[in-house]
């Protein structure tokens, strides 16, 4: 009986891990501040990654968007945009870091499983077992216009396709036996005969017939992140992922999400602690809570200015609103479309515009909010913000650790490249004093540092081939 307890019941680790998400797009980063640096120079990435590593962060995380966000038919101009390829940047960072995990968001729709699995395995080897893959799917033909394969997925098929893709990737990473490479092996002596399995997959969207070319890394294969929040997305994560990059940082929501994921994980036949949860979050910290509140007002002002507030409404009104005063009430005109067309790249899909805009007008009027105030409240994801003095926020986080509401936080700095400095210099020591944060890296692989088990090599598979 006791042997079951560790697998069947979620047991809090009592500690937290931190990750950093270098966003590179959208309004979270305050590019208008004088101290805001380049979004593309390597030095900005190096600075953030090395600061994170100094703070014993588990992972450095990059996103991906395969078509530029558009606004009313043109590239959206008001927010940070234009970022390097995730895996290329992470391979470069691997040479100037030693312990931090390197997580790349990569799309299952616009890649081939054999090619993507090979490149991720490559990053994993180059970094000495520190790679992670944040698995995302896209289903719109609009993004597909940048790709040979186009956009071919039904929305409902996204996770079916993603799961087949991930299973294929795992089979590719499982292909080489642990001892396929002799420790003293000269090139040409490996792989040993029979130590590599051929991977064959024939699916609705792709066909793979492949003899993988890379051995396993020190962590066997890249750690898998996933962020989808729908029931299908959660089940997908429970079956396949190691870490969920969740959207539920608030305490009660985090506890409820943990319970839900634990249940789904067990249902998927995995141990209760198999899936780590790290919500996306923003930290605005200062020596005192009053200073933090002041800083928050400053950050919000720079994140959403008057032009961005108007543009935000334009997405939903489907028309230009440039005559409207951001410091006045919401527009009392009807939206231009019955149903907003897909707002390109913003993640907003087909809300009923007339209904929504009317509801917003009412909401803003009741709260006495101007356009600017209303949009700042709507767009800032304040539920993902931790604002306060270093010790206050450390106390709050310690509560999360004790009950295991989350395994850590994936922090989006709002300032590049110095946005992690106060977190690493002040918050991390406070967390360490409370005994809820590591005082050293446990190992050199991401899997070790996240406390994840090394996956077993699947027993089955096609006949071994050379």
């Amino acid at each position: 009986m006791s042997q079951h307890s560790s697998a069947d019941v979620f047991v809090p680790s009592g500690t937290l891990q931190l990750g950093v998400f270098f966003q590179g797009v959208n309004s979270g980063t305050i590019w208008k501040a004088a101290e805001s640096g380049s979004q593309t120079d390597f030095e900005s990435f190096r600075r953030i990654a090395q600061t994170a590593e100094r703070g014993l962060f588990a992972a450095f995380f990059l996103g991906e968007g395969l078509r530029l966000r558009e606004h009313l038919g043109r590239p959206h101009a008001l927010d940070v945009v234009g970022r390097p390829d995730a895996q290329t940047m992470l391979a470069a960072l691997a040479s100037v870091t030693t312990h931090i995990g390197l997580a790349a968001t990569q799309n299952t729709t616009y890649n081939d499983p054999a090619d993507l699995a090979h490149r991720l395995a490559s990053l994993d080897l180059i970094s000495g077992g520190r790679a992670a893959w944040n698995m995302v799917t896209t289903d719109n033909a609009w993004t597909g216009e940048n790709f040979r394969r186009g956009g071919y997925l039904d929305h409902a098929d996204r996770y079916v396709h993603a799961e087949a893709f991930v299973r294929t990737a795992k089979a590719i990473w499982d292909s080489w036996a642990p001892d396929a490479v002799a420790s003293d092996g000269a090139a040409g002596d490996w792989p040993a005969d029979g130590a590599v399995r051929r991977v064959h997959h024939e699916g609705q969207h792709y066909t793979v017939d492949y003899t993988p070319r890379l051995p396993r890394s020190p962590q066997h294969h890249p750690v898998l992140f996933q962020a989808g929040d729908s029931p299908d997305g959660r089940d997908f994560a429970a079956r396949q992922a190691d870490v969920i990059f969740s959207a539920h940082p608030q305490f009660d929501a985090a506890v409820a999400f943990r319970d839900d994921i634990t249940e789904r994980t067990l249902r998927a036949g995995r141990p209760a602690n198999a899936v780590k949860i790290m919500p996306a979050s923003e930290f605005i910290l200062a020596p005192t809570s009053a200073e933090a509140a002041e800083k928050k007002a400053w950050v919000r002002e720079l994140q959403i200015g008057p032009q961005q507030a108007i543009a935000y409404l334009e997405q939903f009104w489907g028309r230009q609103l440039d005559g409207w005063d951001a410091n006045g009430p919401l527009p009392d005109i009807a939206p231009a479309v019955e149903e907003t067309s897909e707002t390109r790249g913003s993640g907003f899909h087909g809300a009923k515009a007339v209904e929504l805009t009317a509801q917003w007008r009412q909401e803003a009027a009741e709260k006495g909010q101007t356009i600017l105030q209303f949009v700042r409240a709507k767009a800032a994801r304040s539920d993902a913000s931790f604002v306060g003095s270093y010790s206050e926020v450390a106390d709050t986080l310690a509560d999360y650790a004790r009950v295991g509401a989350v395994d850590g936080f994936n922090i989006s700095p709002w300032l590049i490249p110095t946005g992690l400095d106060d977190i690493v210099n002040h918050l991390v020591p406070e967390l360490q004093e409370r005994g809820v944060y590591p005082t050293q890296y446990r190992g050199t692989t991401l899997r070790e540092n996240l406390g994840l088990a090394v996956p077993e090599r699947a027993a089955a598979g096609e006949p071994a081939v050379r």
Binding site: T40, F42, P84, T88, L125
Partner: protein, 368 residues
Amino acid sequence: MSTIDDRTSTASRAGFLAIELDGAGWNGTGFGSTEGFASLAEAVLTAESAGFHVATFADAPVAGRANALQRAAYAGPVTRTIALVPEVDTVYTEPFHVSTQLASLDYVSGGRAGWIATAAEFPETAASVGRENVSGSALAQEAAASIEVSRRLWDSWEDDAVIRDVATGRYIDADKLHYVDYETPAGFGAPYSVKGPSIIPRPLQGQPPILAPASIVGAGQVPADAVDAVLVTAPTPELLTAEIRDVRHRLGAAVAIVGELDVVLDARGQAAGERAAGPASGRARYVGSAAGLVDFLEPLLAEADGVRLHPASLAVELEELARLVLPELRRRGALRAPLQDGTFRDLLGLPRPASRYAHPSTTAAAGK
């Protein structure tokens, strides 16, 4: 006066040296460091300090070989002067990804990125991605299309597209971003289109140099003006100079010529001829002493713009090259000085081009 003339003529005769770093691609794992280097970083730094101008990274499918573009990216932050030039396939890859990855390599290397655009027949790669095997003349068509997509995407953000204009709240000037609307030409095997713009600002070099095997460049293949340099192969060292002249005649003076040479040297008490030279590569192969190699390379570097060496054993040959070959070539004035804070384009003598989408009128208007 005469000194300046001498320098000029020396510079025009002097060439650059590239080295293929295959075999050093699996750093940090304790795996496969069979070429005598503990890591990829050590190998590329050794090549850089030896005075090589360019490091190339093979990517043809071979067991144990990590992705070439990632290996080049890994080398970016730890090197200062050496150009980092991976092979990237054009046939079974997504041109949009390739363009973004190469632009990113340019950022992480501070403008030292290049691209050896390859298009070879690999039925196994075709099967791995569920594509029909591409062969024959269709290979060069694929390469031409992918190169054109990358070049357009690299230009799709004008240089001054990121304006960070606090007064108007605009991070970019949307007028300086452009759709590329690429479509493959009529008769293309598996037609496709690419919309753009790119998802990354223009590379630091504007257009990172593109190299390709001379065998796929020319009329009806990859147009000569689509590449900045070609790799020229001949069956023997004796035939290499003639082949270089032929290719230069065929493609014109605007395309830089890089001769390809396998190198097996007397080293560590063994004569070159006794050392395992590996299977035939199809390239000219020099087998002999370091002094003989210097004598062979000196005129070759005057004939070609550069020579790429493929060492039989990276660590063994690199040691001899660094100790005996490059210093003597430098002494003879046959090698260009490594570029401090230069780009790969600078090395090739290429100016930084304006974006094809930049209109003088809009530039002027923005400058007001």
